[in-house]
Symmetry: C2
Subunit: 449 residues, 2 copies
């Protein structure tokens, strides 16, 4: 009784969650896929501290991020906070180390961030970001490469049906210049950003009310956002709209060059399509913009977004650091994959299970497991000599694919039973010659669809 009252209730903090193996393994697979693709383009990993001086983090000056920041005094009474994104730490990092690193600098950063926001359904206060950026060059080659990375990333994860939507902020800016709305661009873009959500009329109303646009001007901006068709058709429609604006023409020319280069690298129009309506936030991006949608689940929103910016670290250095990059929405993508039935319900990373069947044969099991591991197969040996049925139930619950059953009878004959746990079939295989027959049989089972 007294013991019971002393127990601490085991629970996670509100807004936070544990990752059990079944949820953690798909996350790790996604992260591994992202790393493989980033590395294959020469993006190098970095890491920065979870805790930064508050003056670094509040520098960004957004009321929302400031309010949501986990902020406190450390042991030395320093005002510190947990990072709420990977962009501010990158800016601080780049300003601090650019002399050592040199430019262009290509980095990826996959790490946890924290935001004390209202924990609504599906929103957590701790989540991972998965960013890649090229810093220190204005060359469109890096924009092109960013599109290629997103493209390869989606395919590496296992998606074939997806579309990267492409825009260039300069096109919009150019048109706004021509309409004499350049000084109201923030308000116009803020309204335009809601087009998919609230529809044409409400956006026009907001442009008139908030940006002081005339109905005619609002209509023209919306016409721009509504150009549609193939990439070639859209470019044709944009030509007259940007004509005469240096900025607008430059934006269009960059779209053209980007599509030509990605096309030469094998990316189709269906996978990379101009969408003049996407604006992505207000002030940060200045050129190319990307969003990425799943064909089978467009409603979940963009799963990989980014773009080009002129000046990453103006808060920390006078050196101008232009760049381009994007961020893979890990949690959103995982939720989508779950909804689409693409996540296997498995809680073991090893496919092969060896029941501890015959009490005297432990060393044989351990040796066989070592042989299979040397052949690259993950193997779990059950630690207790329990009834076989109980052990196979355990294997089933965990999601093992193959069991190797070797009782004293089989072992006396120098063989074992290799059981396909998915199909329920079993064959006897010889244990001679380094268990090559067993290994071959397992590989065949694992390779079958």
């Amino acid at each position: 009784m007294s013991d019971k009252t002393k127990l601490i209730q085991p629970r996670t903090l509100k807004g936070f969650r544990d990752y059990l193996p079944e949820a953690m393994m798909p996350r790790e697979r996604l992260i591994d896929a992202a790393k493989r693709v980033y590395r294959s383009y020469g993006f190098a990993p970095i890491d920065t501290p979870a805790l930064e001086l508050a003056e670094i983090l509040t520098g960004k000056g957004s009321d929302e991020t400031d309010r949501q920041m986990y902020r406190f005094l450390d042991h030395g009474n320093r005002d510190v906070g947990l990072r709420f994104d990977l962009t501010v730490p990158l800016a601080r990092f780049a300003a601090q180390h650019v002399g050592t690193l040199g430019t262009p600098f290509k980095r990826y950063h996959i790490a946890t961030v924290w935001r004390g926001e209202n924990a609504q359904r599906g929103r957590y206060r701790e989540f991972m970001q998965c960013d890649f950026d090229t810093i220190g060059t204005k060359s469109l080659v890096s924009d092109i490469e960013t599109a290629l990375v997103i493209h390869d990333l989606m395919r590496e994860i296992g998606f074939e049906g997806f579309q990267i939507r492409l825009n260039n902020r300069k096109v919009l800016s150019g048109v706004l210049e021509k309409l004499d709305l350049a000084d109201k661009s923030t308000e116009v873009l803020r309204a335009l950003d809601k087009l998919a959500k609230i529809g044409r009329e409400k956006v026009a109303e907001e442009m008139i009310a908030a940006a002081g646009a005339t109905a005619e001007q609002a209509d023209q901006v919306l016409k721009l956002a509504e150009v549609s068709g193939s990439n070639a058709e859209i470019m044709k429609q944009l030509e007259p709209l940007v004509a005469g604006s240096e900025k607008g023409e430059e934006g269009l020319s960059q779209l053209r060059d980007l599509l030509e280069a990605t096309g030469a690298a094998g990316v189709t129009d269906a996978r990379l399509a101009i969408d003049v309506s996407i604006a992505r936030g207000l002030d940060y991006y200045t050129g190319t913009i990307f969003e990425t949608f799943l064909d089978d689940l467009p409603g979940i929103g963009s799963v990989c977004s980014g773009g080009r910016y002129d000046n990453l670290a103006s808060l920390y250095t006078k050196e101008q650091l232009p760049g381009v990059g994007a961020s893979l929405g890990l949690d959103r993508l995982l939720a989508a994959m779950e909804e689409l039935g693409l996540v296997e319900k498995v809680s073991t990373p090893a496919p092969v299970f060896i029941p501890y069947f015959d009490e005297k044969s432990l060393n044989t099991y351990l040796k066989l497991a070592a042989q299979l591991r040397a052949a690259g197969l993950g193997v779990e040996v059950y630690p207790e000599a329990k009834k076989l049925g109980q052990q196979l139930k355990y294997a089933d619950r965990r999601g093992f694919k193959v069991a190797i059953i070797a009782g004293d009878r089989e072992l006396a004959e120098g063989k074992c039973q290799v059981k396909n746990l998915m199909a329920g079939e079993a064959t006897d295989e010889s244990l001679d010659d380094g268990a090559t027959a067993v290994i071959a049989r397992i590989e065949k089972i694992l390779a079958s669809p």
Copy 2:
């Protein structure tokens, strides 16, 4: 001037550090090696929140960890803290989820922890831990497997010269029982733990002063700690020392079974050796204990340590959860590898560099890069059409191994130059047939020692 005064100085918080690519890549390689080995034994990944309720973390009741904890009130005025290890979160996690997970439960957890300790030379307030444990079984098979995992892990990382030192707390406990010192075991072990550091005489003095041992008793305990020789010789010497103590005999028998099973799996005495002097802390471990030392750098201390415990989560649940596990000392191992010259000074994860040499040929470079990536080769295309010398200097600084140089002259002939940047040699290769000749040449260069 006014701009300058407004700049925020880019700096990391005291006791924290950035990981630049050159430091991050070896860390990632180490983590990847650990994951591969853990997974190959069926250990599954989990994750827990960085922030926990303070009542969960302070439950452990160590003054030191409580004092070092980053602790504050969150947005809902909850008393919270950053985790200072992965053991307390595992205990909370296991107590909370054991019903869902079932036992035995094998997990690994590679994550950041924070301790606000005095930042001495080489000590940081943020570091990673890399733990694996088997929970919910008392079977010695899991102890055996823990030894095998440590063994495979060290080899996977690239070490051949290492020694896992093995002990069993029951041997010590049994001898202390026989000496009537069982109720002073904490004090005795605390003294004994310092043997390597302060020497025999000082340890004896401490046992007499702190544990109330007689000089004769202290001598006997030290004799036990000093048994030496081969594993077989040590076991022979231990037999009479533990004879008559049930606990001591059980400990010795477990040592014997563990060595027999790991021996059958191919682990040599040189790699896994009994060392009766290791005690590893005071109250937590109750059976098998492991420490791991590098032959070439023993002074750096144990790089992988762990052992068996009787009850993981008694603070959070009445259910008894015995287990066994170990923790890879990532930072210590990285420091050792650096000191031993085993860390390559490279800051690109891609071996191949394509200079942007001929301005009109960008699409050719991008296509070639895509072909090499499809063959599994990491490739970086320089984003600006600068002078070749400047680009090669960049490639050299980053540590690329191969450059593909293709000016208009080479391209007109349908070929390119493949340059071995380590040896300085170059050959011309055809770009026909999906660049197979180029790929073959690069693979040959990368495979050369």
